[in-house]
Amino acid sequence: MGMRAAGRTGARAKSARGVDVPRILTYAILAAGAFVMLFPLYWMVATSLKLLPETRQFPPVWFPLPPRWGNYAEALRFQPFGRYFLNSFLIAAPVVIGDAIVSSFVAYGFARLRFPGRDAIFMVLVSTMMVPFIVRLVPLFLIFQRLGWINSYWPLIVPSLFGTPFHIFLLRQFYRALPGDLAEAARLDGLNEFGIWWRIYVPLSKPAIATVAIFAFQQSWNDFLAPLIFLNDNKKYTVALGLANMLSQSGASTQYWNLLMASAAMAVVPMILLFVIFQRYFVRGIALSGVKG
């Protein structure tokens, strides 16, 4: 029954606790909630398969028949979306790999090694998560401008190659929960700390590193403000920028809502696929973040 599913989070499905809403009511609320959460996505797909006049019908057309799959091809012609996809992946790939590896490396230092100032440095790391991005953005723009990096992908890639605070925090939590005598045994075998990290802790933390990699991808793929500031050549746009551009180009009154929805659906497909395939990593990562540290 529900047990198998609940077992995945690592917690047993426990008997009703705290509240005991009658079963029927529970399922009714859950169903209504799920409908509200999922309907917008359904509506996006449904609209993307309509003829333009169908989008203007009121009451709305609930099931576009026959579905106009050609809208997707047309949306791809409307703007070079294929190019934008490639661009977004070109940015995300090094971000994901670099962020995951470096964050794991740094996290090992915070979690498993003792050195003066460690806890103070870690406090600084946690505090930086509280600084609004815009505060850093203006000076960053000036720095990258001086480096000649504006309108290149470097400003979107390089900062994450030094590890990102949230991901370091997550992996540190994970490493602290692992038994410490693993490292002791390896030390006696003559491995140095780098070897212990790379040969023992990295393999052990593959699921946690996967979680961080997924979060890094999500952040990079969904990012809007940074690409908006750092990219200005249309050909270099990411998917997010391309979609915003399409919205502003097609004008407020005469929207091609079907094509817009087709583009929006394509922009979200990689994320939804990732979620469906790696669902448990998302759940675990978020759960880990809530553990007090």
Binding site: A5, R17, F110, R118, N222, A244
Partner: protein, 318 residues
């Protein structure tokens, strides 16, 4: 050997052999955290310091910064109508979106913490919107809330409510954006769910032996035990919500009549549309201070209501 210790501190060399185990571990420790420290200096510390400094200068992209003392701040507080407007808009958003998200997330987590069938499905359904890029949800909600043929207008009409003009209305544009923010409550829900599952069963068993009813258990066990999680979600929610930008930038361009000109959007305009780097930096510094103060206030307020188990589950390490 004495003289060479300074050198040894730089990096582990063959001489590290002569260091004590503790010193060697410390050197490795610094080596491991070094990448982040470099990144922190380059992309956080120096930019933040620069931002504070630029706030005291007259600086546009074309000129070099000229020290003007408090001039920007005087102008912001006395002669800038959009400063109170945009700060007010953001506070309005934070005040509605954060409690709204947390309440819905808490309710959903409570429901899912019961023995329910298809748990994975419900949890996924509630979480799924979180992976949707803001730009996509912005375009999508623009369409759903479309005032002539939008599907929400139809649904509201069915129950006899005249749909507001949403993004064309000075009054309804902000609530519409808050509504969209509620769609993103899924990650708070997962954190609550993890917190709920961490509450030991024996507390509930003891309570029901004492004859405490379900509501009583919610009030006396679930909520007190969950207060650290509530605090965590509250702080994260506040920090995220103060940065609201994309929704307004895409859906309303800050309008109508600046009713959705959020604070970050206002900084964006000053910095990247008017190129008033100095002025924008002063605005940024104010945001930095406001977020800091609000966060500190929440932390100090939380001492009155967060329940920490004494001793107990201290983690490994130190």
């Amino acid at each position: 050997m004495r003289q060479s210790t300074a050198l040894d501190n730089v990096r582990p060399t063959p001489r590290a052999r002569h260091l004590s185990v503790g010193q060697r571990e410390a050197l490795w420790g610094y080596a491991f955290v070094l990448p982040w420290v470099i990144g922190f200096l380059a992309f956080s510390a120096i930019p933040i310091a620069a931002s504070i400094y630029f706030g005291f200068t007259d600086y546009s992209v074309l000129t070099s910064p000229k020290w003007v003392g408090l001039q920007n701040y005087v102008k912001i507080f006395t002669d800038d109508k959009l400063f109170p407007t945009s700060l007010g808009n953001t506070l309005y958003y934070v005040a509605l979106a954060v409690p709204g998200q947390l309440l819905i997330a808490f309710g959903a987590a409570l429901l899912l913490n019961q023995k329910v069938r298809w748990l994975t499905f419900w949890r996924s359904a509630f979480y799924l919107p979180v992976v949707v890029p803001y730009i996509v949800s912005s375009v999508l909600f623009l369409w759903i809330l479309e005032p002539q043929v939008g599907v929400l207008k139809y649904a509201l009409g069915k129950v006899g409510i005249a749909s507001p003009q949403w993004f064309q209305s000075e009054v309804w544009a902000k609530p519409a954006i808050v509504l969209l923010s509620l769609w993103y409550m899924g990650s708070y829900m997962l954190v609550f769910l993890a917190g709920l599952q961490g509450i030991p069963d024996h507390l509930y068993e003891a309570a029901s032996l004492d004859g405490a009813g379900r509501l009583r258990q919610l009030r006396s066990i679930t909520i007190p035990m969950l207060t650290p999680t509530i605090l965590f979600n509250l702080v994260i929610g506040i920090i995220n919500s103060f940065q609201v930008f994309t929704f307004a930038f895409v859906m309303t361009k800050g309008g109508p009549l600046n009713s959705t000109l959020f604070y970050v959007y206002y900084i964006y305009r000053r910095a990247f549309e008017n190129f008033e780097t100095g002025y924008a930096s002063a605005l940024s510094t104010i945001l930095f201070i406001v977020v800091l103060l609000v966060t500190l206030a929440v932390f100090s307020w939380s001492r009155r209501w967060v329940y920490y188990e004494s001793g107990g589950d201290a983690e490994g390490g130190r």
